[in-house]
Amino acid sequence: MSIDYQTMWTDLGLDLTSHDALLNVLGTAYRDIYLAQENRPETMAYFDFVMSEVHGLRIKELLDEKAAGRKIIGSYCVFVPEEMVLAANATLVGLCSGADFAMEEVEKLLPRNTCALIKSSFGFKLGKVCPYLESADMIVGENTCDGKKKAYESLRPLVDNLYVMDLPQVKSANGKALLKSEYLRFMEALQELTGVAVTTESLRSGIKTVNAKRNAIHRLSALRAADPAPISGLDALLANQVFFYDNPARFTDAVNKICDELEQRVASKSGVCPVGTPRILVSGCPQAVPNWKLPMIVENSGAIIVGEESCVGERGTRNCVDESGSTVDQLIDAIVERYFQVDCAIFTPNTDRLAHIEEMVKAYRADGVIHYGLQFCQPYLMEAIPVEKALEEKGIPCLRLETDYSMEDAGQLTTRVEAFVEQLR
């Protein structure tokens, strides 16, 4: 990264020493995990560039947008509707939560047995190393799991612009009404922040932009059904991760270019691994940048990941919003309709999720499922047991893993994953 960014980072209030250390670790990990892969699609070069500038050029773009009067909204969850953010002339970015940072400071505020994702979001704030968080004009928290909803109470004193969205926990008419009223309240807050009134045109345009982004990811997902797989799980996960950071139109374009290249690969029956390589669907907790631990272990163990049933993956991108509404209210209803289908484990019961896992196993021709649970993530760990049982009853092998961001269990995980891959061969 260029030295020019030092002033920008200082102005954002980042701790330069810690931030340099973070970028060093990130750079090394990216080189060892991503650039070391063989036979990558050439069009992934765009994502290599994005990652090399993830705290540089992209932040500069956001700051330029701010200077031009646009607002930046930071989010930790796929329930925050990007359509509305765009319609209010603001930009939505995902906030960093994929690596351990400043853990000693974090554990002064949160119990040790809090999941790695929540701890990480605090670590990036307390360690002053997330330029997205520091650029944000509004940080949106959401009442998903108990861990997150209580953690936002402790986050509030640390930031001056936290907005907390309530979310339903049951897929009932009342639940849907709550989601709609919360989305309306959020839209009010956005309009107040930006001074821009949301119109039918601006909302439809926001919907179209986000739908295009989702459609590009759907196209990518469908191509992964081919055997041999035309793209690694690591690279496909990266595209799903960058979904939260990049300029939406440019991202859509980049993913579609990858798909063009992958279509040629599929037509010529070439891929990143031999035909017959064991194919794995990963299901469970989100894997935020730079949490590449599981796919790295899986793809170094002779298997290939063909889908992510995850917030950073198909749970986050499934379904588009109906664009046909002719009033703001109709479009909001369409947005509610789409988001209310997200099969997050905070819902009870959450039977759609199991159906989606089974659909994805079929669609991507997976030989087995690895259930990825972050340690202390009660909702997904609770679901893991019935999911495993249901899959095994249908003859789909399932490996239930529980881990965090540290590498201390990498040896154990590798043995489990290798044995699972042996089981699938």
């Binding site: 154990q412 043995t415 044995a419 042996e422 089981q423």
Partner: protein, 251 residues
Amino acid sequence: MTHYGGIDIGSRTIELVVVDEAGQVCASLQCDTGYDPLAATRSLIDAAPFDRIMATGYGRTLFEISFESRTVTEIKAHARGARALFGDAATIIDIGGQDSKAIALLENGRVKKFEMNDRCAAGTGKFLEIMARTLGFTIDDFGREALQAQNALTISSMCTVFAESEVTSLIAKGEDPRNIALGLHHSVIRRAAAMINRVSSAGDVVFTGGVARNPCMTELLAKQLGRRVLVPDEPQRIGALGAALLLMEEH
């Protein structure tokens, strides 16, 4: 005649088994892993000739790099080794030095499902070894002494460090070390039995790994499960045997 070696590089010991083309064992050697597993491995390899070798155990990758061998996980290796000795084995519990695994097999011998213990040494050979030392028993006598106990004391902690202080305070209370020893065995068995029950609910259980040499463990496990527990003559070499047989079958 081609000879196939299987080497199991565990946290405590290294086993080498060599089989011929018919799968008959021609050599079986063991040494401590120590601080330099590669040197220990070399001394074993020099003592038993073979043509090809397959590595398993936690040190398999180290061996793979140094000796350009093939590797297989302990889970598949133990499954194959147990099947060689007990033709219809369907459930295996392997308790080694630093981890334990319960494995369920399909009728054709392939792995159907497995469970492994968590990150720490709770419920493993290392736990028993440290507890034996705290109580002043040798590891070889530990099980026999525990079987002499009048009654089992309850040890609630599975963490090696906390269990050690629990044991120390029981000693300070004047409790019979053999009663403490039996309590410790019970705590490991409860954990192992729960793991077995998660992968398989009925039928004989083959007990492999070094801990299977402890007579108290095998007796308690059979009682706790209400199932027959079968122990090979040299349970600690099953992984190496399995690796050798898998290699033989590939050729």
